[in-house]
Amino acid sequence: MSLSVTNLLSIKDLTNDDINLVLDTAKYFEEISKRAIKKVPTLRGKTIVNLFLEPSTRTRISFELAAKRLSADVVNISSDSSAIKKGESLKDTAKTLTAMGIDIIVMRHSFAGSSELLAKWTDARIINAGDGAHEHPTQALLDLYTVREKLKKIENLHIGIVGDVAHSRVARSNIFAFKKMGAKISVIAPPTLVPPEFESLGVNIRYNFDEVIPEIDVIYLLRLQLERQTESFFPSIGEYARLFCLNKERLKMAKENVVIMHPGPINRDIEISGDITEMPESIITQQVASGIAVRMAVLYLLAGGGLVSGAVD
């Protein structure tokens, strides 16, 4: 079994079969991270470059660990410490890496469409680890995985995505992903952060968190970029938090089996109050754990997948 795509650039490109293949494969790899020796020889001899041209902690470390647990050779490039700071173009970076015989490039970039562009200039497999406000496919895949593990299904769940949807690649990928898998989605934010066109992506737009919270199975909180205040998307962080912060009172109105998710990093008391991040409803740490398994699955499937001896022992 293999993916219908050679690069993982966007959820939009994936079929439901692709998504199920990734999730099923992740299940195998999840077990490895629980062992004493967290390593399998699956991708030994493969070279993976993490090209992170925008700051990241959790995603980069997650990819690095995923690659290393599969025994691949990993090179980390960040924009600060590379020729990109000297003005080297993405095209030249791509050609240079290709000449060095890289198997997979995991790229995060500030501009939408960058991984599509990278794909034009290299035969290496490409994983989009976030391109501007466009997509963050592995985040959506790990979110699907986490929900499926916890709630045993995705179809017909009501997902509530709360926060700065307009500027969020996580929101976009999750909307595409959860919709493909049959969930219902509401986006909850002030109107300035959720343009009406989002309805044409097949989601309901709601401005009142309190009203919709009793209907939701999965509360998915997005990080608020605090700079948005200076661009007048909302008058103050205080007002935003008053309306949209998930606190104890709001949580009381939620369904009994509701789960809370957040891609991280969290702005405590803005998206979620500090006293509920550790509550059992929160599966935020499970998301992080799933992330490694899902990324191992994606690396494995893009590197060729198939039943390689020693692939999964």
């Binding site: 939408a112 501007g132 690649r169 343009p195 989002f198 044409s200 992506l201």
Partner: protein
């Protein structure tokens, strides 16, 4: 210098030409138009066999960027005029956003001299509305008018200050020259990359709403009704703009406008793969906007087709979408794209297309055009049946959204002042 164009079908509604006739040209002028002229002329005359071909008045482009002075890496007057000739254009207006900006006579003189010595079609410079396109101080319009500009424009920039725009309109009345306005509310479009709509939402690219154009078109026309003067609205792209312009014309205001071949045929779905060949300002809009533009071109609300030919080098366009500059070339493909997508699909008549490409733009800048005795011999000869693939460009740049397209209808000869400047 004599030239005989034999047996072509003349299409020039303004001179009631719509049949097969010969054209005899001498010393740069059309000397006679009629059937079987070859019989009465001496043998051995230079002749073009235009049998099966169409002969139209030479095309006039009111909106081109020749990039010289300043960006000769993208295009020069030499290469740009050759690209124009390939597209059937015998006259082109070049926009002032060069480096230095065309805000004084010396730059106009430079362009005219380059055009005379290195160009092969007629070049009519447009002067800036504001000094350095800074949007704050008026350029010396009288100086520019003396130098021979055919209009004023801050194209690329928008005159955001309404008070200044008012002054510009008032002042320009002295010269009876149009302000060719780039109508865009720059605050609404800040950081914008493509049309605001489904695709900007799905792709995570910042959108530029059509209201940004609508607002400034309304503002410019409103000021026009206050001050008088002439306005020509550049690259009209939104259906809302069309409605405002239609009403303004019905109210008798002196407004004309243009639409580009790319806005008339490509919608924002083109951008689904982040192809910067479609990154242009104003952006490619929705299907609904295209329908409104085509309807407006057919009913005359949109007066002319103009290319907004905007060359950019490969390296500049081969960047992350946000970093790539706005602009597409269009001189070489304008006629063929519109013939294929509008005329052949019966959305626009052939004569309507010819008028929008030649007669009407010529009248806006006061350039002589038409197939009649005494007119300058500026002619475009077309083969309606020729099919071809858009591959190589004469322009120094190749940032065209039509690259690789199969088109029908091609310019075969372009004649300027009786001289063949392009031959297929």
């Amino acid at each position: 210098m004599e030239l005989l164009i034999k047996g072509g079908k003349l299409v020039d509604p303004s001179n009631k030409q719509n049949s097969v006739k010969d054209i005899y040209i001498k010393d740069g002028l059309i000397k006679s138009v009629g059937k079987d002229l070859g019989e009465t002329l001496k043998k051995g005359i230079n002749a073009i066999d235009a049998k099966g071909l169409i002969v139209a008045p030479g095309f006039v482009d009111l909106h081109t960027h020749l990039r010289e002075p300043g960006r000769e890496d993208e295009e020069t007057i030499a290469t740009g005029t050759r690209a124009a000739a390939k597209g059937g254009f015998t006259s082109i207006c070049c926009m002032p956003n060069t480096n230095p900006v065309v805000d004084n006579k010396s730059v106009v003189d430079f362009i005219k001299e380059k055009a005379r010595s290195e160009g092969i079609v007629k070049v009519f410079p447009v002067g800036a509305i504001t000094k350095g396109l800074n949007g704050r101080e008026l350029a010396e319009m009288a100086d520019l008018a003396d130098a021979g500009v055919v209009g004023f424009s801050d194209d690329g920039e928008s005159v955001m200050d309404s008070r200044l725009m008012r002054r510009a309109l008032e002042y320009s009345k002295m010269f009876d020259l149009p302000l060719m306005v780039h109508s865009e509310d720059k605050n609404l479009t800040r950081d914008g990359q493509i049309n605001e709509g489904y695709w900007s939402t799905a792709l995570g690219l910042k959108g530029m709403p059509s209201q940004a154009e609508e607002i400034m078109v309304a503002r410019d026309i409103s000021l026009l009704s206050l001050t008088g003067g002439r306005i020509h609205i550049a690259h009209t792209s939104a259906s809302e703009s069309v409605d405002i312009i239609r009403k303004a014309k019905n109210d008798g205001l002196k407004v004309t406008c243009e639409a580009t071949p790319h806005h008339l045929t490509l919608n924002d779905e083109y951008l689904r793969n982040f192809d910067t060949s479609g990154k242009v300002n104003p952006p490619l809009r929705s299907k609904k906007d295209i329908e409104a533009l085509i309807e407006a071109l057919a009913d005359g609300t949109i007066d002319v087709v103009a290319t907004d030919h905007a060359p950019h080098t490969l390296s500049e366009k081969e960047k992350e979408f946000d970093l790539a500059p706005f602009g597409v070339i269009g001189l070489e493909t304008a006629f063929s794209v519109l013939f294929t997508e509008l005329v052949k699909k019966k959305l626009l008549s052939f004569s309507g297309l010819i008028e929008a490409l030649s007669t009407k733009p010529a009248s806006i800048i006061g350039v002589k055009s038409g197939i009649k005795e005494g007119s300058p011999a500026d002619l475009t000869v077309i083969d309606e049946k020729r099919k071809f693939k858009v591959e190589d460009f004469i322009s120094k740049s190749s940032n065209s959204p039509f690259k690789g397209r199969e088109l029908e209808g091609k310019v075969i000869y372009t004649i300027v002042d009786g001289k063949v400047v392009f031959e297929e």
